[in-house]
Amino acid sequence: MKLKWLKRLLTLHGLLFLFFVYAPIIIVVVYSFNSHPVNMMVWKDFTFDWYLSIFGQSTKLTEQTLYVESTDQLVGAVKNSLIVAVSTTIFSTIVGVATALAVYRHHFRLKPFYQGLLYMPMVMPDIVLGIALLVFFVNFSIQLGMMSIIIGHCTFLISYVFVVVSARLAGMDDSLEQASADLGANPWITFRRVTFPQILPGIVGGALLAFIISMDDLVITYFIAGVDSTTLPVFIYGMLRRGVKPEINAIATLMLVFSFAIASLGLYFRKRS
């Protein structure tokens, strides 16, 4: 019957789709263990050497290949990324939650304007935002460095947290808050004992999302990073532009593992809520 063929085609498409999504990633991970020094896509032997070189140990293999990139730069970039991500996450989560509470629990004249304002950074192409921030900082003689990166990230991460927490608030049963008030609790206590525990999964989700996005951000950071401070994505981008080295596979794989771990953590928390 024709319908059966349709279903089989559909399943084939679905599986090819998954394959397409994961194939490049799997290829990179597999070839990060490839010991071919010149053409990294031709399989030679299995080796951990590239991973070792990232962490500062050089082996016979890596000494053969004459690249001069220093691991210090890599480590520095990772450190910067983490510092930025943690700071931004803290700030934008607090501000995002506060704004979400304000907008969804009250009615005021400028409400649609506020909601529009908060959605804008998410829809805007990164490059526009990056340029705008660059121009702004330079014009007002604000030095480009870690601080400017943190500020830049907060600009759009507040929106992400806002959206996630708002969704959680919208799905909340507000009769619970009414019950709490009916039983004599003032607004602060109601918030602490009823509202907050309910939206906590949303807050955690928003924070994790902000963290990941901050760690991965390339375009905006690229424009406002300045000379001395690089983050990991910008560093890798630079590496790619200058020419590809085998260590890149290993770095990429490590980043993959890290991101997967964080995302899985996020899902785990969501399931528990």
Binding site: L6, L10, T11, H13, G14, F17, L18, V21, Y22, P24, I25, I27, N39, M41, V42, A98, T99, L101, A102, H106, H107, Y114, L117, P121, V123, M124, P125, D126, I127, V128, I131, A132, L133, L134, V135, F136, N139, G152, T155, I158, I212, M215, D216, L218, V219, F223, L232, P233, I236, Y237, L240, R241, V244, I248, N249, A252, L256, S259, F260, A263
Partner: protein, 294 residues
């Protein structure tokens, strides 16, 4: 009428966000718009004069003194629109059947599959694009495998072409198209599909008359979410297109980092923003209204 205390609370909650976004979001945007009307200084930097030619240059005009008519910028602009639009079509064609397939799976599998589809999204953009560089290069995975299998004798020259850029862009934007589509398809009332079949419609008729109209909001949302980032993208054309495929994002980057013509770069950015606004207004007006009517 909100009580005084409630008002105070509202203001307390709203202030930090408002101040921060006011200064660091609206501020930069305004400055950028202002810059787009300024004159570029000779050695970089800006002169504070009104200079309308930045926009003019985009369309190819010249001021008769320093510049000749050159439509190259308009070309780049249209190429970017074309690539962004093609990307929407490609991702739509790839994701729609996939979304239908996922929504037909058993409930237990569904959340898991959606999760593993969106998981790569959390990996850095650079890393994911880098994978494609490695695959598509002349010495890359695709060519070495195909040559190794004896299917081709010379490497296929795919990198640094528009095709490579499209592949890379589609790959990056897949979740943006998949998730809204999937949300819309999942909400579809299956009894409508049955009713259509019951009334004699063959499967393709059911698809065109019932399924497609019902999932139109998802398609529209996905299209907007894919088009806007595609338009302003510069990383993909840079890594996979080289100097051969210039998009408007590359142009902006050049103006700011090498050519040092900030006003022109600002003007280009404003153009991108305008396209974005037009799209969003269009979307909110037509799609938003039909959603409310439901």
């Amino acid at each position: 009428m909100p009580g005084k205390q409630e008002n105070r609370r509202l203001i307390a909650l709203l202030t930090p966000g408002s101040i921060f976004l006011g200064i660091f979001f609206l501020g930069p945007l305004s400055v950028m718009i202002v810059y787009s009307f300024l004159e570029p200084g000779l050695y970089g930097g800006v002169e504070w004069n009104f200079y309308h030619l930045n926009y003019g240059r985009i369309l190819g005009w010249a001021d008769g003194e320093w510049e000749e008519f050159d439509p190259v910028y308009a070309e780049i602009f249209f190429r970017s629109v074309r690539i962004a639009f093609t990307n929407v079509v490609i991702t739509l064609l790839i994701c729609y059947p996939a979304a239908i397939w996922v929504s037909g799976l058993a409930v237990r599998w569904r959340t898991f599959v959606v999760f593993i589809i969106t998981l790569p999204f959390f990996v850095s953009l650079v890393v994911r694009l880098f994978c494609w560089v490695l695959i598509l290069r002349p010495s890359g995975f695709m060519n070495t495998t195909l040559m190794g299998l004896g299917l081709i004798s010379e490497p296929i020259d795919i990198i640094y072409t528009e095709t490579a850029v499209l592949i890379g862009m589609a790959y990056i934007m897949l979740p943006f198209m998949f998730l809204p589509l999937y949300a819309s398809i999942e909400k579809l009332d299956r009894s409508l599909v049955e009713a259509s079949s019951d009334l004699g419609a063959k499967p393709y008729q059911t698809f065109l008359r019932v399924i497609l109209p019902a999932t139109l909001p998802g398609i529209a949302a996905g299209a907007v979410l894919v088009f806007i980032p595609s338009l302003g993208n510069f990383v993909v054309p840079d890594l996979l297109g080289g100097a051969k495929v210039l998009m408007i994002g590359n142009l902006v980057e050049q103006q700011f980092l090498s050519a040092r013509n900030w006003p022109f770069g600002a003007a280009l950015s404003v153009m991108i923003m305008l396209v974005m606004f037009i799209l969003i207004i269009f979307y909110v007006r037509r799609i938003g209204r039909s959603e409310i009517a439901r």
